[in-house]
Amino acid sequence: MLLHLDQRTELAYRALLLLDEVDDGPATSKDIAARLDLSPDYLVKVLAPLTRAGWIASTRGPAGGYRLSTSLEHLCVLDLIEAVEGKVDREKCMHGDSRNPATEVCTLHDPWIRARDALLTELEETPIALAGLASPK
């Protein structure tokens, strides 16, 4: 069970940092794609969850492009991961388990939830703005 992030999550994170640095109007998708070394088509897929979350906004036209519409200080790394990869189902321990977690739990429930919470808490406590500075313990 490899614990990996989706590559799009890392790209979305770098796109947010890049937009945070831009202070002279919106960044064009061509610029962002070039900076992230992506095709324009793939960039659209990377940015879609950020637009959906309301963190970036786009404007059309010759002077159009993308800009941040929130402060990165308000976002944690878990927000980013869940925006791109979907919400973590905190009630569920096992893949494909159809039991109702409120009434019947698996035998690994408590220790697994404790371990998963330790991971999620770390991600919740790391603001996106500081993520690049966080170093492994």
Partner: protein, 142 residues
Amino acid sequence: MRLELTKKTDLAFQALSVIADSNGERVNGSKLAALLDISTQYLPHVMAPLTRAGWVSSVSGPRGGYTVTTRLDNISLLDLIEAVEGPIDDSRCLHLGPLHDPVGDCDTDMACALHGPWTKARKALLDELSATQLNDMIVVHG
């Protein structure tokens, strides 16, 4: 994002609990399958990682069955999960690897942008799992 175990891991743990609770007696495969509420055909799939890890031995034949060959306080929940589901940490953060290094490890020389927080969070999970011994989780079966 899915942070879930497979049912097979839960079944493997239940199997270990039953066998460890049998006071050294061999536990017959049919009885074990019935206790776990799985088919006798599926049971070997559940038991294979446990025998491969050297925690359980099996004897075939009419008087055969499974016995535990180690103490459960020597096995952590991390050991069990990795025995059944494979390693959790392969030194990479991203599913496809960072773009600039699609085949290499995500180490500090060539790290992806989320390396710091992800490594720290994954370590928190691994520390919890490795600090939990299976004998502390045993539920006695009837």
